[in-house]
């Protein structure tokens, strides 16, 4: 009897489909691997390397060449001088060599023992150089008629040098200094607390304000579309434009907000909104809420409009008051979208860099983890420490993602 059970292995059609799928996905996977996965691995690598911003340029031999002494008339004695140094203060250069073509009419009278003269071409083997090494190499010469006639100086034919240096990014020196440095002391605790404050209050604030805005617009009236578009402005406008607008609005010397507060008698002297310690953090959090409430507003509104209006009519018949309807009907319906929004926004606020960087540059107690990456890597020029902070951020995100994946599978509709 023939076997009628379905085939166990994948058939040729299914195989072809899978092949096509991978073919279609390949460009994306390749691009993402190149720009996301590779840099992520690089971050881990760099975080255990002692790299400074200056080390990105490999150390090289710096050479200046000139002629010293009298060289105007035949028979004058002069020196060709090569001023050499190692551009790096930290790293050695190995096997340095120098090659140059001497001009016609300069007779070499004495030669450094490391150099060989072959016709007019000079070859020197200068050995290994310590970090920050400098040397003046002198070649004594006597001026002859041809030199006076031609007028070619030694520096007119540029000398070339070679040398090998190990790049700190690719060698095998590892260190944990970067981590020791960033975890060191109160600073890290402060950065962590600031990040937490900014993230938690920024997220919750944006959600609540967005909920309020959504409640306002959850009815059809003339101009609702215009208001909806208007309320999205903060999110759509370029962050740099609105951040500078805020800075100018709240400027301590000539900002309108201060002028207004002074005139109303709320304060007697100008407030430095983005420069004082607790206030600056509150202000950047308020900015975050202002800029991202439109997003939560949009999502909550979309969810609200899909709630069946029959339920409200039934509740009305049963005598539920408007607040009761909101609390017992709307809120449970919105809980799903609110929790997903909270998780997503939490992660995104945690990742936020531009806003704080533009508003305060991380000063006045507003340095979050992301700003700290920039601060360490570029302001203090310690790329390794910056990468170490980035690794810490990545660790936190990994923890969030586990949470997130649990929830996103429940609310796949988003």
């Amino acid at each position: 009897m023939a076997d009628v059970s379905p085939p166990i292995s994948t058939g040729p059609l299914a195989k072809r489909e899978a092949r096509l799928a991978w073919g279609l996905l390949f460009p994306t996977i390749a691009a993402v691997a190149l720009v996301v996965v590779l840099p992520l691995l690089a971050i881990f690598w760099i975080s255990v390397k002692p790299v400074e911003l200056g080390d990105l340029r490999a150390p090289e031999v710096v050479l200046r060449e000139d002629i010293r002494g009298d060289y105007e008339a035949v028979g004058d004695k002069a020196n060709i001088r090569y001023r050499l140094r190692n551009s790096s203060q930290e790293q050695p250069i190995k096997g340095v060599t120098l090659t140059d073509t001497l001009p016609e009419g300069l007779r070499v009278t004495g030669l450094d023992e490391r150099c060989v003269l072959d016709g007019r071409s000079l070859n020197c083997d200068l050995g290994d150089w310590e970090p920050g090494f400098r040397e003046n190499l002198m070649i004594p010469v006597v001026v002859e008629q041809a030199y006076v006639d031609l007028g070619l100086r030694p520096q007119d034919s540029p000398a070339s040098t070679t040398g090998q240096s190990s790049n700190v990014l690719t060698n095998t020196t590892f260190t944990l200094d970067n981590f020791a440095r960033i975890f060191n002391g109160d600073e890290f605790v402060e950065v962590l607390l600031v990040t937490l404050f900014y993230t938690v209050f920024g997220t919750i604030g944006a959600l609540l304000v967005g909920l309020f805005a959504a409640l306002l617009l959850n009815k059809s009236f003339k101009g609702q579309g215009i208001l909806r578009g208007l309320y999205l402005f903060p999110y759509v406008a370029p962050v740099i434009a609105v951040a500078f607008a805020w800075l100018i609005l709240f400027d301590p010397f000539s900002g309108s907000a201060n002028a207004l507060l002074l005139q109303m008698g709320v304060t007697s002297e100008a407030i430095n909104f983005f420069g004082e310690r607790p206030l600056a953090l509150i202000m950047v959090t308020v900015f975050e809420i202002w800029r991202y409430f439109p997003l939560s507003f949009l999502f909550i509104l979309a969810r609200m409009q899909s709630i069946d209006s029959d339920m409200y009519e039934a509740a009305d018949m049963d005598g539920a008051s408007p607040f009761q309807q909101f609390w017992y009907l709307s809120v449970p319906q919105l809980l799903g979208i609110l929790s997903v929004l909270f998780l997503l926004r939490f992660i995104w606020t945690f990742n936020k860099f531009d806003d704080i960087f533009l508003l305060t540059g991380g000063n006045a107690g507003t340095r979050t983890l992301t700003v700290n990456v920039y601060e360490q890597a570029f302001a203090i020029s310690n790329i390794g420490a910056g990468a170490a902070v980035a690794v810490v951020i990545f660790g936190c995100l990994l923890a969030f993602s586990i949470f997130f994946l649990k929830y996103i599978s429940r609310e796949e509709g988003l």
Partner: protein
């Protein structure tokens, strides 16, 4: 709470609070519009607002009462005991306009707020209805103010000059007699600061980003949505996870790699890197839409002898034009507004994008109106596109992106 639910309690309280809100609004609006001294008198606001609330509850809400209320507020303001107080130098006309504004807006808005409030005990419905109408009114004023004020300041500052700005930071009135002189900072940005080039750079980079993103995301999204292969579920999930990696973490190695390969400071370097930041979200949005399309049409196409790629090209894509428009808009917006990578990777002033160009204006030597004019130049195109295609944009935003 139940003590509050009496007409004679609810009416005055809502009236007083509403008066405070309107007084503050009118004072700020008049200050910003004229630059003259206006400030809300909180105490007077509470007193007159409470009296107005009580009066409306007692006398009913007919036309004459409403009219009388408005006139009374205008008169009070003009004799100097109104909810909005003015400084000694404030001109009479400004004062009169302020009084008119407050009187009419209060009279017109408090009546509907206290619509169902009767002198005696109130039901929960009546009470909460009034509170909700009060909160709604407050909400409209609040949101419109917080959204508009920064943009208003941005535009108005760009039209001023340095001395005017320092003289009176509140004065945003425009001196129309200056004519084209008003737009001097814009003119200087385009003639001396290369903003024409920046605008062109930003535009071409954004458009290229949109096309490259779509070229990658459409096949990817189709594969995830329609084709069966092992790892499909894991793949569609990891797309979102990739989106959670913060840009600053990636920016550091990208900066190093670009420094070493000489891609820093190049147009193509930016064009290479922007699409990768947008592909995951575009893919996620599109696959959601593709899933919603009926598979039967595509199967019919397959039966009729089209290859898969032809099915995508001739059936799926024409059907998903609206989604493509949303995704394109959203990607365009991300690329146009992108700041961090442009800031880190571009140093050469001839290759700046608009956002990078604005960042370069942020120095003490360049007057602030230039900075604001630059901001306006960057904001206006994206706003215009957004308002013109608002429907697509809203749909696109809700379709799968919570990125910020």
């Amino acid at each position: 709470m139940s003590k509050l639910r009496f007409g004679y309690v609810t009416g005055p309280i809502l009236g007083a609070l509403w008066m405070v809100i309107l007084a503050v609004t009118v004072a700020i609006a008049m200050s910003f519009a004229t630059g003259q001294a206006f400030r809300p008198g909180i105490l007077w606001s509470l007193v007159w607002g409470a009296m107005a609330g009580a009066g409306l509850v007692a006398l009913g809400r007919g036309r004459p009462v409403q009219l009388g209320l408005s006139v009374a507020i205008i008169a009070l303001m003009l004799i100097g005991f109104g909810p909005v107080l003015v400084g000694p130098e404030t001109s009479f006309s400004a004062r009169f306009v302020g009084a008119l504004l407050l009187g009419i807006s209060f009279g017109a808005s408090i009546v509907p707020i206290l619509d169902e409030i009767t002198p005696g005990a109130l039901t929960r419905h009546e009470f909460e209805g009034a509170v909700i109408r009060f909160l709604t009114g407050f909400g409209y004023i609040f949101f419109t103010a917080i959204v508009l004020i920064p943009f208003y300041v941005m535009v108005m500052t760009s039209l001023k000059n340095q001395s005017e700005l320092i003289q009176n930071p509140l004065d945003f009135s425009i001196d129309l007699s200056k004519g084209t002189e008003l737009f001097r900072s814009y003119d200087e940005l385009f003639t001396q600061f290369n903003f024409g080039t920046y605008l062109f750079n930003s535009f071409s980079i954004s458009v290229l980003t949109v096309f490259i993103t779509l070229a990658f995301a459409i096949p990817g999204a189709y594969a995830v949505a329609r084709l069966r292969f092992r790892g499909q579920a894991a793949f569609s999930r990891s797309i979102l996870l990739i989106y959670m990696v913060p840009m600053i973490v990636l920016a550091l190695p990208i900066y190093i790699a670009f420094s070493m390969t000489g891609l820093r400071n190049s147009f193509w370097g930016i064009v290479m890197i922007y699409p990768v930041t947008t592909i995951p979200v575009a893919l996620y949005m599109l696959q959601g839409y593709f899933r919603g399309l009926p598979a039967e049409i595509e199967e019919a196409g397959l039966m009729d002898g089209l290859s898969r790629l032809k099915v995508i090209w001739q059936i799926t894509l024409p059907l998903s034009l609206p989604a493509l428009a949303s995704v394109s808009l959203y990607v365009f917006m991300i690329a146009w507004n992108e700041f961090l990578l442009a800031f880190m990777l571009l140093d050469d002033p001839t290759k700046f994008t608009l956002t990078r160009g604005i960042a370069s204006l942020n120095s003490s030597e360049i007057p602030r109106q230039h900075l604001m004019a630059g901001s306006v130049i960057a904001t206006v195109p994206i706003m215009a596109i957004f308002l013109g295609l608002e429907k697509f944009m809203t749909k696109g935003l809700t379709a799968g992106s919570v990125k910020g």
